[in-house]
């Protein structure tokens, strides 16, 4: 007699397919490799990678464009030459986490920053120890739930503020956003680099998504913070 066998219900399979459709992976190629191939194809304009500062200065006011002009070299060197990028990733990740929790308030509310203590230990196996003031988490699952909720709240709040906040402007606000954007770019790149080594790691995925979401929100905020008539043509 043959053994009876079970089947996954159709609806369950459909649900799994839907989830799989939204799965993301770390990019399979390095930008440096792809960039080289694009140049050989003539798809990258010569010099656009190290665009003259004056061009950026014309498009933007200052600050962020300058960062981008130097970015390819800086980022490559940053990852290659220090040999300690995991340390930096941990620090970046911690700050993303903190940013997620603190949201926009982190930038303008020093009190929140005071509550967040980020300690990166160089001597104990390159581990990052993070203490955030407030009620301690009861379990890793509890912390993950909080992180997910905070991330969602951050995205919603940032999108709302970007769309509706008409309160008094803070001096130098565009620069604040540009600086944040530059930092988030590094975080995104760092977390992508980490995901190449551990593509299925849920924590690294979380950090990548958090950084990407925060970046999107910051772009919106920067767009709103620019003076009337100024157009954001580069970020």
């Amino acid at each position: 007699m043959a053994l009876p066998f079970k089947e996954l219900p159709e609806q369950a399979l459909d649900a799994m397919i839907t989830r799989e459709q939204t799965r993301i992976v770390a990019p399979l190629t390095e930008w440096s490799t792809l960039s080289l191939a694009l140049r050989q194809e003539g798809l990258v304009r010569d010099g656009s990678g190290a665009r003259a500062q004056s061009d950026y200065a014309r498009d933007y006011d200052r600050g962020y464009a300058r960062d981008y002009a130097a970015e390819p070299e800086r980022r490559g060197g940053w990852l290659r030459t220090t040999g300690r990028w995991t340390m930096r990733l941990a620090a970046s990740a911690a700050l993303v986490g903190a940013g997620v929790v603190a949201g926009r308030g982190m930038t303008f509310g020093q009190g929140l920053i005071d509550q967040i203590q980020v300690a990166v230990s160089d001597s104990v196996g390159h581990r990052a120890a993070i203490h955030v003031g407030g009620k301690p988490f009861s379990s890793p699952a509890d912390a993950r739930r909080t992180l997910l909720r905070a991330q969602t709240d951050y995205q919603r709040a940032a999108a709302f503020l970007a769309a509706t906040d008409s309160g008094p402007r803070i001096a130098g606000e565009p620069d604040v956003y540009r600086d944040r954007l530059a930092g988030l770019d590094e975080m995104t790149a760092a977390s992508l680099g980490a995901l190449k080594n551990a593509p299925q790691d849920p924590l690294l995925n979380q950090y990548y998504l958090s950084a990407a979401a925060a970046r999107e929100a910051t772009i919106q905020q920067l767009g709103n913070a620019l003076p009337v008539g100024a157009t954001m043509v580069r970020f």
Partner: protein, 194 residues
Amino acid sequence: MTTHQTIVQRAVEGDERALRQLWMENAPHIDAVVLRLCGDRDLAADVAQEVWIQIFRALPSYRGDSQFGTWAHRIAVNRTLNALRKVRRIAKVEMDVEDDTAAAPDNPEADTERGIMAESIDQAVRKLSPGARTVFLLHDMEGYTHEEIARELGITTGGSKSQLFKARAKLRRLLAHLSDGFSTGVGQEHGTPI
């Protein structure tokens, strides 16, 4: 002009910064599609580069009618299938699609008895025969119609439907042990008459 349109425009003009921006935003999704279709990470890495070159080469034809990601997704699927064809994998797929004697075992009892179960749909899909896997991925994952699949793979629509039916049936068996968490139709048993 929206910010996104501006990025695309700059990318068309060959601005590396804009090109990288588009890649960074879309690679996690696009490369996931490539990886699914290739089923092999090393091959997928090679194909992904070709895919991105093709996307950027075709960028001037992007009119903004749809999301950039959606537009690029279609190119990714087509380019990946072309690349697979080049490495003669599709040739085998096409043969398998029309040939019911696919390489992978398709006997449910045998699967169960041998304990061939998958822990995820990704793992389960890898256990399908090449023909069934490609048809399943194109239809259920990428949203292609049977007619489009038939054109793309050079098979009949009937062949495509048949492979999809087999693929889904096999996936349901391979993933049966995960059914406990589902309330509808759980443990639908098929007893073989003595």
